[in-house]
């Protein structure tokens, strides 16, 4: 899946399931959209379903540094690359 295809899926999830209004790729998820730790865990579960595999504990811990939608895309891209190596 390309970064753009994944971006569209993530944006759809954030709008439909997390009720984001006009999400921007560089918006701060917490400050601009009230996204919290509970949401982060739920979103990771949804990303796992899209990707078709479960994250390792180490991979999940790396998600704690995510602040923006672009960070999510970078994070997923990095995991996909590391797994194809």
């Amino acid at each position: 899946m390309t970064r753009d295809e994944f971006k569209d899926k993530i944006l759809a999830i954030l709008v439909d399931d997390f009720e984001f209004e006009e999400p921007g790729l560089e918006d701060n998820l917490r400050d601009d959209h009230g996204f919290d730790s509970i949401d982060a865990i739920e979103l990771l579960g949804k990303i796992e379903l899209i990707l078709g595999f479960s994250f390792t504990r180490e991979e999940k811990e790396k998600a704690m540094g995510i602040r923006t939608i672009n960070d999510i895309l970078d994070y997923v891209e990095a995991i996909q690359q590391s797994r194809t190596k």
Binding site: G34, I38, I41, E42, G45, E48, S54
Partner: protein, 415 residues
């Protein structure tokens, strides 16, 4: 230090209405909120009792997803009535978030609806299902879900008391909230309880032969507290909240005083966890009067727990007779809506406040022929116009827990 504690706002979602005027009309016209048990796709088809005190009208919730995500149905009721009391109180956001306002709120067992889904996952024996067990499910189902969803939604930072003692849950909430203010730990408390539509509770009572089964085709004719033809309780749903405030600060800010909590008692029977206990509940009623520094003759109205079980009503009648004789009017308000479980104490308190304000006392619905073992009381004889100065609200729960609240009419509380 002992401080006076007043009630300055209230709201209740009940089987006989949500709006105050609807509730008053139901009480005045003798309209029942008991309906037919709904199909839940699981237990309902096995239950012999086909009646339930149902909230069957739409409620326009307006909660953002940020809050909804940790709320099961029980928290919707709780947060809605808490929102109402905060809006009606006129308290500033600065005060609400100051730490001087706390929450005492509970339910019988959190959200059974959410728990049911969790258990399906627990026992599915699939890795994919296991990983879907999330923190959100726990937050929505846990036993203190009502109290902390309220505190989160409104940014309340004071103490949290999440009582969960079945039928005495919300009367404990009011009692412990009252004590928190009386002894200076908090200046105000949101107190109450909620319970959602739940057939597991009905099943428990059904199997104990404690549920009403003879009025399945005429739900409005049951429960029948104190009546010779009563055949058990009817489970119901709902939510209720009162705002308690320290009297001087409430007066200073010009708050409307709906009532004053004069006394509270809670004790345990110290033995059997199910059977009603005359000594235990008689002691509760006396302890509450002592806390209020009142004599039995001061009490004009007793809101009886009166679930319409065969033995419960008899034992309660004996306790009321032992403490009050034939003095106060006695009504079993569950006759209008069934037993709303963890909510019943706060709903019965609010209904008592409404009746005190409006100058009437409603009779026990369906009390056509008083059981001879319960006829030593002064049962409210039809809709009675009367000035009630002091009311006692009593509730008893599985586990042998008993409570009694002594409440003063708001008009008399203002001095």
């Amino acid at each position: 230090m002992k401080r006076r504690v007043v009630i300055t706002a209230c709201s209740a979602i009940t089987p006989i209405g949500y709006d105050k005027n609807d509730i008053i009309e139901s009480l005045k016209k003798g309209k029942s909120g008991v309906g037919v048990l709904r199909d839940d796709g699981l237990l309902s088809k096995h239950i012999h009792s086909r009646v339930f005190g149902t909230v069957d009208y739409p409620i326009n919730y307006d909660f953002k997803r940020q809050y909804r995500k940790t709320m099961g149905p029980v928290a919707y009721y709780a947060c809605q009535v808490a929102k109402d009391v905060l809006e009606r109180s006129g308290l500033s956001e600065e005060f609400i978030t100051s730490g001087r306002l706390g929450v005492a709120f509970g339910s019988t067992h959190g959200s059974p609806t959410v728990q049911r889904e969790i258990y399906k996952t627990f026992f599915s024996d699939l890795d994919s299902k296991f990983s879907s067990i999330g923190a959100v499910d726990y937050l929505r189902s846990m036993v203190h879900t009502t109290a902390v969803n309220i505190s989160r939604m409104f940014g309340i930072t004071g103490r949290i008391i999440a009582s969960s003692t079945a039928c005495t849950t919300s009367s404990q909430s009011i009692g412990y909230g009252y004590e928190s203010i009386k002894y200076g730990m908090q200046d105000a408390m949101i107190c109450g309880g909620a319970d959602e539509y739940d057939t597991t509770t009905v099943a428990v009572f059904d199997n104990l032969l404690a549920c009403s089964v003879n009025y399945n085709t005429t739900p409005e004719c049951t429960p029948r507290p104190f009546d010779a033809n009563r055949d058990g309780l009817v489970v119901g749903e709902g939510g209720g909240a009162v705002l308690l405030e320290e009297y001087e600060s409430a007066k200073k800010r010009g708050a409307e005083i709906l009532g004053e909590v004069l006394g509270f008692a809670c004790n345990n029977n110290g033995g059997d966890l199910i059977l009603p206990n005359l000594d235990g509940i008689t002691a509760t009623l006396r302890l509450a009067l002592a806390d209020a520094e009142m004599n039995p003759a001061d009490v004009d109205f007793v809101s009886a727990h009166a679930t319409a079980t065969k033995m419960g009503d008899v034992i309660e009648s004996q306790a009321i007779a032992a403490v009050y004789g034939k003095g106060p009017l006695v009504t079993g308000l569950k006759s209008y809506m069934g037993h709303t479980m963890g909510t019943c104490g706060v709903i019965e308190t609010i209904l008592s406040l409404y009746m005190m304000e409006q100058g009437f006392i409603a009779p026990t619905l369906n009390l056509d022929n008083v059981d001879k073992r319960c006829d030593m009381l002064r049962h409210t004889p039809g809709l009675t116009e009367t000035e009630t100065k002091i009311a006692a609200i009593q509730n008893f729960a599985f586990g042998g827990v008993n409570t009694c609240l002594i409440i003063k009419n708001g008009r008399d509380a203002v001095q």
